[in-house]
């Protein structure tokens, strides 16, 4: 029992972190709370499915195309939708939420609601870890989570664009005075966040079926993890995911699985009531933003 809580709690935490990272990255850099995040997540799942089943593309190619398309759509979202309301936090949230809901409901309208919508696992089979059976897909998820954290670290510390992201995130006006463009950076941050939603979707969706509700859940997870950890801090996201991930698994085992969703909501309420900027956050206006 204890070992399975340990192992599945970790897997669950990594899943939450994977989901939350893109959302929090965009917010940390540009201050945009991208409430279309769930839409991007689900769109990536369906797009991969369509590429595989309608066009018969190889899995690897379908994944690459999906990540690229999600990134491009995120980029366009900034220029087409967000630019007009930039700086008005509430309008940003409403505009992106409407966009996300629109994407999700579009797929419902398309009739993408049956059980045939599943993504293939990267590899079938399972291993035993400390006597706990674990399938390869969940192992891959842990690997991808790790790889993404390492990639992000490298990207934000050693590339020109990544460094400019950190500049804008830390002091926008100084960054601008050095020639970094805030709109361009914000658009790229949306692109990167959306591409990360696609990566998360491709890794996580094979565990179940792709359904519209997943899109709404994903947004809730991203917001919950962000609120607990502090939206703009990577360590915060990781620790927020661990807290939520384990709390959920323990709740699922000792109480009942249907209580697992309540954990997010209770956590949001608790953290906002006690420390509104999140356990590791610095943004004081977080409670106004989300």
């Amino acid at each position: 029992m204890t070992t399975s809580i340990l192992v599945y709690g970790l897997v669950n935490s990594v899943i939450l972190a994977l989901i939350a990272m893109g959302f929090s990255l965009t917010f940390g850099i540009s201050g945009v709370a991208n409430f279309a995040y769930g839409g991007f997540y689900l769109l990536s799942g369906y797009l991969t499915w369509m590429l595989l089943n309608y066009l018969g593309l190889p899995f690897a190619l379908a994944m690459l195309i999906t990540v690229a398309v999600a990134g491009l759509l995120g980029f366009l979202t900034y220029w087409v939708i967000l630019l007009r309301v930039r700086g008005i936090a509430l309008s940003e949230v409403i505009a992106t939420f409407a966009l996300g809901a629109g994407m999700l409901e579009f797929f419902r309208w398309m009739g993408f609601v049956t059980y045939e919508f599943t993504l293939p696992c990267f590899m079938k089979g399972r291993v035993e870890i400390f006597g706990v059976p674990l399938d390869y897909q969940r192992l891959f998820i842990i690997g991808i989570g790790l790889a993404l954290v390492i990639f992000l670290y490298f990207f934000t510390h050693h590339t020109r664009i990544g460094l400019s992201f950190r500049g804008i995130a830390q002091n926008e006006r100084t960054a601008i005075s050095l020639g970094i463009e805030s709109d361009w950076t914000a658009a790229l941050s949306l692109a990167l966040g959306s591409a990360m939603a696609a990566v998360a979707a491709i890794a996580i969706l094979p565990l179940g079926i792709i359904s519209i509700n997943v899109g709404y859940d994903v947004l809730l997870i991203a917001v919950a993890v962000g609120i607990i950890g502090g939206l703009e801090s990577v360590p915060g996201i990781l620790i927020g995911s661990l807290i939520l991930g384990y709390a959920q698994v323990i709740t699922g085992m000792y109480l009942a699985p249907e209580w697992m969703m309540v954990v997010y909501l209770a956590a949001i309420v608790l953290v906002l009531a006690i420390k509104p900027s999140g356990l590791f956050g610095k943004f004081k206006e977080l409670e106004e933003r989300v």
Binding site: R86, G87, R166, Q170, N171, T174, A175, S177, L178, G179
Partner: protein, 247 residues
């Protein structure tokens, strides 16, 4: 090199800069002196183009109305409406007041972020130059900028501006809040930067340490130019003495 003609800047209906004209010649150090809220920072933001960015953002969210009238020419070219990144590309860079650096990044990363627009292979040389002018930064290069002292952050802010390889360096109150020793060190640095061929426009509230090194100074009050002269002329001027030296 830089020519400003009849510049007027309004925030809503408040006049921040009133019909101001000034010139900066290549290779000189020019000072803009004035007390708090005289319009020094607005002037610097206007020359660096930051105000264009501020105006754009305010317009988008229906905030404060910012109006810029008049003409700014750099090397004969009208740059009044160009955005900050364009001006950095042309060689104008601003080191903002109160040394706003990137606190969670190391000193070295701060300098690296500043090379964002550069594509030439001489970035290494710029690092060397910054570390020669400010040897202290080299010792601190692995430290997070937020943990550096005010003076060190000021050096870093200027160092970052230098990393863009400027031809005209704008410094907004670089001496503000520094100890006299630190001020003297910065004055030395400013001279060294000029010797490297960088033209300098610097604002300051307390002019005493600065006057000996400036070639020309402009005194502004409430956004209006009230006096101009060489550093020496201003030093001997009784009004300046009374107003800015506290004598």
């Amino acid at each position: 090199m830089l020519e400003i003609k009849n510049l007027m800047v309004f925030f809503e209906n408040a006049l921040a800069i009133n019909d101001l004209s000034l010139e900066v010649h290549r290779g000189k150090i020019v000072g803009v002196l004035g007390s708090n809220s005289a319009g020094k920072t607005t002037l610097m933001n206007t020359i660096s183009g930051l105000i264009i960015d501020m105006k754009k953002k305010e317009d988008r969210k229906g905030g404060e109305r910012i109006t810029v009238l008049g003409e700014i020419r750099f090397e004969g070219e009208d740059i009044t409406d160009t955005k900050p990144s364009e001006r950095v590309k042309k060689g104008i860079v601003l080191s903002r007041e109160r040394h706003p650096v990137f606190p969670d990044s190391t000193v070295e990363e701060n300098l690296k972020i500043a090379t964002y627009l550069r594509k030439d292979p001489q970035i290494k040389k710029s690092f060397e130059f910054v570390y020669t002018v400010f040897p202290r930064l080299k010792e601190l290069r692995k430290r997070k900028a937020g943990f550096c002292s005010g003076g060190e952050q000021q050096m870093l802010a200027i160092g970052m501006a230098l990393m863009t390889k400027p031809r005209l360096l704008l410094m907004d109150e670089p001496l503000l809040g520094l100890s006299p020793a630190m001020q003297q060190d910065l004055i030395r640095a400013i001279k060294e930067i000029r010797e490297e061929g960088v033209t300098i426009l610097v604002t300051e509230q307390f002019a005493r340490p600065l006057l000996p090194i400036i070639d020309r100074g402009y005194v502004i009050e409430n956004g209006t130019l009230i006096l101009t002269g060489t550093g020496k002329e201003l030093m001997d001027n009784p009004e300046v003495k009374a107003a800015y030296f506290g004598l």
